[in-house]
Symmetry: C2
Subunit: 195 residues, 2 copies
DNA sequence: CAATCACCTTGACACTGTCAAGTTGTAAAA
DNA sequence: TTTTACAACTTGACAGTGTCAAGGTGATTG
């Protein structure tokens, strides 16, 4: 009848639990995500998730992996709307990054700022690697011969990550925080040569 | 007799609890830090902290504030050993940043990657502002007229923050992660004009 | 001397993650 | 067909967590 029933019919409670977890993150933030609440939202008992994940860490890791799929999709969506200019393409990736982190704050925090997930997980590893590859492919044409390989990628990635961290702190905390005056484009212009 | 007794004599259980929390972070990571364990380590009952902090969030916020004091001290220690060159001075700040994050991983995570502290807290605000001011003062002489105010500061701060995040993920997760091949100095050279 | 009050303790509560044992339905094996 | 095996899920229990209400204690103050 309802969604849960239908999803369970398909036999993949695993996917249902991951979706439930993401919904909990979206609606109630990081503290709302609980193994038992995930189970309840999926319509199963509190011990059911143990048959599909290795404890809470396993569930959170699987949620983060799903998050990386969404993350990559958001960046690719922005990329598809960019011009042919290499610099525009890289900037559109950045816009996708910022949009994802703004629209999925708790999920983004779980993926990038959490000590609760298992970075050794191969599924998480391959999906996060796929995200990074999108960035790499947009950086490649912009590299000049002076800078070492990956320098631009790491710089952009770090800049985005740090910028999100700043704006988040500025949003939640003191509004006098300097970061909320600086648009990302200003940092991008500073870091990426605009030949 | 022991340290707890002596500290409690002085009347500041608050400071004792903060110290206990930092010790727990150092020895057992983020998951080892608990309100009840803090109380036990300080030699008081599990409900005692409530008289000094506003719940667990208040305790974590106070620990983060203390962390920012240590953070600023580490950067200043590195700065004192730098040459007179402005660029060296800024780089020494960065070294201090990286040393602090490497030597106090869980505490650093609580301060910068945690959704569990109250960024509105005035004490935390002033102490984290003091840390940022150290960076600001070292950036000021390096600004050229083209770049907007704070652009260099935010760039360096974000780069450091992102770099720590990368190296942490590379350390815990897949050793094939690209970040662990890139020394920070390479990023610094790329971002900071070198004349 | 009595009252006040900051500080701490005790005990309880709901909630969390995890484990062991039991139930059910399905699919393979006899 | 009957039996067996097994995977998926439930139930119930456990220690640990944060938080609250009530009570005790000792120093300060009127």
């Amino acid at each position: 009848m309802n969604l849960n029933e239908k999803t369970k019919r398909a036999g993949d409670l695993r996917q249902t639990l991951i979706s439930a977890g993401i919904e909990l993150l979206q609606s109630g933030g990081a503290n709302a995500l609980t193994l038992r609440k995930c189970a309840a939202r999926a319509g199963v008992s509190h011990a059911a998730p143990a048959h599909h994940f290795d404890g809470i860490e396993g569930l959170l890791t699987a949620i983060a992996a799903r998050g990386h799929e969404m993350f990559a999709a958001t960046m690719l969506a922005h990329l598809s709307r960019a011009s042919n200019l290499n610099r525009d393409r890289l900037y559109s990736i950045c816009e996708g990054y910022l949009e994802f982190s703004a629209s999925n704050q708790a999920l983004y925090g779980l993926m990038f700022n959490s000590g609760q997930i298992d970075f050794c997980d191969p599924d998480l590893g391959s999906k996060s690697h796929a995200s990074f590859e999108i960035l790499e492919q947009c950086c490649a044409p912009l590299r000049d011969t002076n800078t070492g390989p990956l320098t631009l990628e790491i710089t952009i990635w770090s800049l985005l990550h740090g910028y999100c961290s700043f704006t988040k702190k500025a949003r939640e905390g003191s509004p006098k925080h300097p970061a909320n005056r600086i648009p990302f484009q200003q940092l991008f212009d500073y870091v990426v040569p605009s030949n």
